[in-house]
Subunit: 143 residues, 2 copies
């Protein structure tokens, strides 16, 4: 069901500072910059450079909260800057949600897919049922 790690979501206080850091240290640059009002974040996707052996784009997702009372704002207040969640690519997020939901073992934060970065359909699973890991399913936008 999980095809590969699509992205790591990193909470930061300043998107500009974080973008500059990843560029200076690792040479990665911004592929997409978006504001997602529904999720309360300004976010940047930084595509890594796939090697020949693995022609796959995976992403560093930098997340700056739009306000203190957003999920990422609360995360920063409680935990400080750091890794916020992990996103796995799936072929079909609706089917994946149904299969996972049928197990009855994890609360679905999103019972239906919603809009994610770069046109993806996404859904989050509750970290309280996943060993503290906020887990995102990502169906990338069809080419």
């Amino acid at each position: 069901m999980l095809q590969h790690i699509d992205h790591v979501g990193i909470a930061c206080r300043s998107l500009d500072v974080a973008i500059e850091r990843y560029g200076a240290l690792f040479g990665v640059t911004v592929t997409s910059l978006e504001v997602n009002e529904a999720q309360g974040v300004r976010e940047a996707m930084l595509a890594l450079t796939p090697g020949q052996a693995a022609p796959l784009a995976t992403y560093i997702q930098l997340l700056e909260p739009l306000a203190d009372d957003t999920p990422v704002g609360k995360f920063l207040a409680k935990r400080g800057e750091g890794i916020h969640h992990i996103g796995y690519a799936v072929a079909n997020v609706t089917e994946a949600l149904a299969t996972i939901g049928e197990t009855g073992r994890v609360r679905l934060i999103d019972s239906k897919p919603r809009h994610g970065s770069m046109g993806a359909s996404i859904a989050f699973l509750h970290p309280g049922d996943l060993g503290g890991v906020l887990t995102e399913l990502v169906e990338p936008k069809a080419e």
Copy 2:
């Protein structure tokens, strides 16, 4: 320099519980089970199933501390279960360390590569200089 996300490292109190959970929810199974005395962990690598569009194995790495006074043991005591670090694939970890070290912007936890999972050469970068993200460089074992 960073080619793709190689793995997400997840700290857990019980490797057996975590392995069972990832199998039941997502159908992922153990590819490699190792004890790394130097790092103070018992660990499992769970390979995701690459889709046709992306023929690349990425991994969930589950980490159980061998003792309370190990890095992962201390992490669990302070933060609880959850995402511990993120690992990026690089073509040559020695060269990547040199390039990153020359920036003078991040402390190298490992100034020389050491042994990682499944025969990889790895090195960690200090989270204090990386927005709270413990970052691992991974040069996978040559085929």
